[in-house]
């Protein structure tokens, strides 16, 4: 059985086969949710934004050309959705008291506590980061996205996307160090 590519599915959606959007949703909902979650650390807001992205993909399906990667097109839409949301509602404070962190199987309690502290620290640091820098870092975390695609999302070249990501990580590192000192 041959699996249809994202681009082929979106072209089917464009031609009126709307239930194919369900497949795209199933394939990408977690990735998209992860993107929004890492941008705002607010699960319910992230769910709303995922919905908005797919509603927009449906509404503007006629504009899909099939050129370039679907992933880049979807994340460009996600970026616009997020921008519109914040323009309308302002940047709201997110409560970071409930820190979710991954536990390794062989972690001791002390290591778990350290991990939790570190994750809490990095989340706070990320929220201090300029949102464009946070965005490029979050996108860089998706290994399946090439820097050329990240560049397409951000509207810059592949090289510029790499340099932006590098500088964002550098800034994040400095914020973390600053927070550790104080």
């Amino acid at each position: 059985m041959q699996e249809l590519t994202d681009n082929a599915l979106m072209l089917k959606v464009k031609s009126g086969d709307l239930d194919k959007l369900g497949l795209l949703y199933e394939r990408h909902k977690k990735r998209l949710f992860g993107f929004f979650y890492n941008m705002n650390f607010n699960p319910s807001l992230s769910e709303d934004l995922v919905q908005s992205v797919f509603v927009r993909l449906l509404k503007y399906r006629h504009t899909y050309s099939g050129e370039g990667s679907f992933l880049a097109w979807m994340f460009s839409t996600a970026r616009n959705v997020r921008y519109d949301y914040h323009k309308k509602n302002g940047q709201k404070f997110t409560d970071l008291t409930q820190v979710e962190y991954k536990i390794e199987d062989n972690d001791t309690i002390e290591e778990q506590m350290n991990r939790k502290d570190n994750v809490a620290l990095i989340q706070r640091a990320m929220m201090k980061l300029d949102h464009e820098k946070r965005e490029v870092l979050v996108l860089s975390k998706f290994k399946e996205m090439k820097f050329s695609e990240i560049g397409n999302v951000l509207g810059c070249s592949e090289g510029a996307a790499k340099v932006r990501a590098h500088r964002a990580l550098k800034d994040l590192k400095q914020i973390v160090h600053g927070m550790q000192i104080t």
Binding site: M1, Q2, E3, L4, G16, L18, D19, K20, L21, G22, L23, Y25, E26, K29, K30, F33, G34, Y37, N38, P43, S46, E47, V50, Q51, F54, V55, L58, E100, Y101, K102, R115, N118, V119, L121, I122, Q123, M126, L137, S140, K141, K143, K146, F147, G159, K162, V163, A165, H166, R167, L169, K170, L172, K173, V176
Partner: protein, 264 residues
Amino acid sequence: MKKEDFELLALDYLRGTLLESEKEGFEKLLDDDNFKRQFAEFKEVWKIMDGIKVPEPSPEMDNTFFYVLGNEIEKQRKNHSPLKEYLNDLLRWLMKPQLAYGLLFLVLVGGYLWNTKDVPSSIGDGTVVDSETEQVREKLVLTLLEQNSANKRLEGVSEANKIGRVDDQVINALLRTLNMDPNVNVRLAAIESLTNYVENPKVRQGLIQSIPNQESPIIQVTLANLMLALEEKKSIEPFKQLLEKPELDTTVKKKIEKTIKSII
């Protein structure tokens, strides 16, 4: 130049997406103490970022999405198929009780005979079998069957008819619809959909078990016709239970008595 290379390659190296040919060059850059220290710090922050756990999105997110998608599909059908609209109106007219009994019987028997032919159902319309599509359609069915609007639930049953091989979850949802749905048209549509899977023992059993619980005459007669077509002897006992109900319509009573005699 080295600084530029470091800036361009460090992130790809951390992500593990650097080409083998570039990897060696980058590792050479790390011979420089300054780059080595910077990279170690990057690596530490990057690793902590990996520790951020992204929670699972809630099932409501799926429900809302499939509800919106279902609406859009319905809207599209209405916009693009005036003929279907006309046929729906005609069908509504034909669903009047006096005509419905005979027609439903023909449809059910015809449907059953068609499905017992030796043709794999999944390739019936010549489309490529796509299990991913089926899974999504199943989700759509389950979501639509839970909606308050009877039209939406009808839409759900209609989507179920498009699934080649349904799983237990969809079967259970259709049986639940047959037993619990307040709208008689939705219950009728559920029977029609379930007739596609009468070879499945669970479906047969579910249909038989629902007999004594049905209060609508049209559903009672439809089930009687179906059981007659299937020559299902296990349905005799439930029909007898139904006959004991004092509120049973006289015409239906006669029909059921006749059905029992024919099955025996």
